[in-house]
Structure formats: C-alpha cells, structure tokens
Amino acid sequence: MNALAVMFRREMRLAMRQSADSLMVIAFFVIAVVLFPFGVGPEPNMLARIGPGVIWVAALLAAMLSMERMFLGDYEDGSLELLVLSPVALELAVMIKVLVHWLTTGLPLICAAPLLFVMMNVPTEIWPVLLLTLLLGTPVLSLIGSVGAALILGARRGGVLLSLLVLPLVIPVLIFAVGAGDAVLYGDGAKANLMLLGGVFLGALALTPWATAQAIREAVA
C-alpha cells in the first residue's frame, strides 16, 4: 500500500511539474467546441440541439491528445521496465497511472465543461446529468486509453494509431452519455443511460488494468 502511495505521489508530482500538458488539453477542448458556432451558425436552438454531443466528442478528442504520453515517457527513459521489475504488482501500478491521468485531464475537462454548456446554450435542466455522464465517462476514456497507450509503445506514429485503436471502443460511452441528456429533455429520466454508463465504467475498471499490464510486459520484453 505504501509503495502505491509512493507511486501516486511521484506521478502527481511529475504531472504538476509538467502542468502545461494538462492546460493544453483543456485549451484544445474549449477551442474545439468554440469552432462549432462558427461552423454551423449561431442559431441558439440549433446549438442547444447539438451542444451535448459536440461537447462530448470534443472531450473525447481532447482526452485522446494526452493518452499517448501515459506510458511513453517511462518507456523511453527505461523507467517502465523498472516498474515491471518492481515489487508493486504491475496491474496496480497501471491503475495509479490511470488515476493520475484522469485527475490531470478528465477532472479538468469536467471543470471546464459548464463554461461550454453556456457557450452552446445547453438547457440548464440537463447540466447536472451531463456533468454526471462526464464524471462516469471520462474515467472510462482513461482506462480504455491506457490499453491503447500500452499497445502503441515502440510503434511509429503511435498517436494516430492510438486514436484508431481507442476511438471505436469508446463509442458506447458517447451513445449513453449523450442519450442521458436527451432522455431528460424528453422526460424519460436518465437512469437507464446512467446505469449503462456506470456498467461500462465498472467493466473497464475490472478488465483494462490486466490488458494494459500485459501489453506493457510485451513492450519491454
């Protein structure tokens, strides 16, 4: 347990010292969403209609930007093979990495989202449920992203490959998250969508650390 705390502290410290990475992800998120009113026109009802979907897609792409770096730095400087050889179970080490990735990208994305809700004229009655979908969905992005980030180690043009690997896998998250917002607007209640989203999160939490750890072992072999 102590070793995990040590790892968490180090990862957080590294993330804090390189906080520009996080800021860039947020900046990308905001700019990507801001482009839409210019592209489709500033008609308020139209923006309200597409707002939740646009914000979610932008969050997805923004999270994708930082995923490549999740293990790449450690892989390049040799830390990753030492982590494989450390007494800490690699699956737990992976979960620490994912947690820190979420804290430094997913959480800031959630914090920036209300600003974009205003910008996209998203009806206030679905704000809470959209924030909830982000809270349940962004950890899934980090978890599934970790598998992709481990698989691309050693590959050329890893970032593009990562998007091709991960984006199809997170389509369910997008569907249930945007569906939850729509369900509230149409008076159906978001419970079903949120429970499915929660199920996706728990499934990813249970499965992806093993896959990621195995991919890392292959990468350093």
């Binding site: 180090r10 390049e76 400087d77 093979e81 050889l85 007494p87």
Partner: protein, 242 residues
Amino acid sequence: MFGVGLPCPRTGFPSLNPSDTLLYRFRVIFGDLMAVFSGHDIECIRGDRLVLKNTGFSLSSGHALLLKGANGAGKSTLLRLMAGLMRPVSGRITWDGTDIADDPADHNQRLVYIGHADAVKPALSVLENVSFWADLSGPGGMPVADALQAFGIAHLADLPARYLSAGQRRRVNLTRMLTSGAALWLLDEPTTALDADTAAALSTLIGAHLKTGGMAVISTHSDLGLTSAETLLLGASNSAAA
C-alpha cells in the same frame, strides 16, 4: 570517518547502526543468503535471429559473473532474461532450483537491474529520483543519503535532473543497486559514461556486495578489477560456472 558502528557487511560502508551487522549474520545463519542462480541450455531469438544458444551459467552467493563478447553477442539479452523481462525460447533460469518464471514477484524482490537507459526523470530533482526507487523497493537497503554519498552526488541532491551530465545521470541510476538491498545485481555495462574514479568506486562497491554474500552479473568491455569473477564469453555456444 563514522565513529560509531562496524562497517556494514551488506554494503561495505561504515554503518551508524550496528544492527545491520546482526541482521546480516542472522540472514547467513538461516540460509537466506546462500543461494544458487543458474541457467541451462538457454536459447533466445530476437528479431528472427538466434542470439543465444546452448548458453548456461551457474552463480552462487558471493560470486560475480562477467559477460563478455562482441557487440550483439547477446550480453544485454542474457541480462534481460536473468531479470525476467524476457523469457527464453527454451532452457531454464532457476534460483535455488525454482524457475524464475514460476514466481516473478519473488524474483523481482531479490534483483536490481541496471540497463542502458538511466530511468532518470528530468523534471524531478536528484533526491526525488533516487528516493522514489528506494521507497518503491521498500526498506532493507542503504539509506538514500549514504547512497548519494557513495557515488559522490550528494551535493547535487536538490538539482533538477535535467541539468545532469550523462555520467551524473548514470550515477543516479547506479544508486538503485545500493538502496534496493537486493541480493542479485544485474548490471549492463555499468561503467558507461563514468569517470575513472567512479568506476573504481563502483568496483569497490561490487566487491563489498560480493563479500557479504551478494551476487552480481555484469556485462562489460572494461576491466573492473574483480579478480575472483568468472567470465562467460558469449557469441559462441558456451557455459560458465562461478
């Protein structure tokens, strides 16, 4: 220089804590330190090329094995096999008769591996870098301050690692073998980028480690002055015992 205590036999450094010595004797008496690390008929393929074939070695507590051979002869590959980072295509690597692949976690506890990459984070200070690996491997090794002293980088402790030279980064990496307290040292060309004085200090540290029942496998092109070490020449089918 330290008035108190006997030299710590694990590390050869004067210890302020005489119980280090007691702990060591305790471990010898109960057989913890007497171990045999060996490999038989190892074959390994890297990128469609048979790098190692019919390779074997045997190493017991208190001994060192030097891996020699031309570039590409498989020295690093053998060290990575010994560390358990890779698995041989055929053959076995055992610790006291148990295949290391059967319990990787156990094997990880007793080894420290120093590869080509220095695993130094530029954004962290020297002390933070060294402390992280020391804390991660748990108690049992040399205190971080002593390890920094041993490699002459104590004065750099608070410097961000991005300002270090190649040799200084290597020294930071080498501190891990002292702070881990592991019995088996796997060193892949440890003297790369080191100056002559530090290389000599490294030899002394390895010698002290062996005296206290440790083991070391070292791939090297330079002479480390380890007179009692056996040599395994790679590149031809070969085996050695130490």
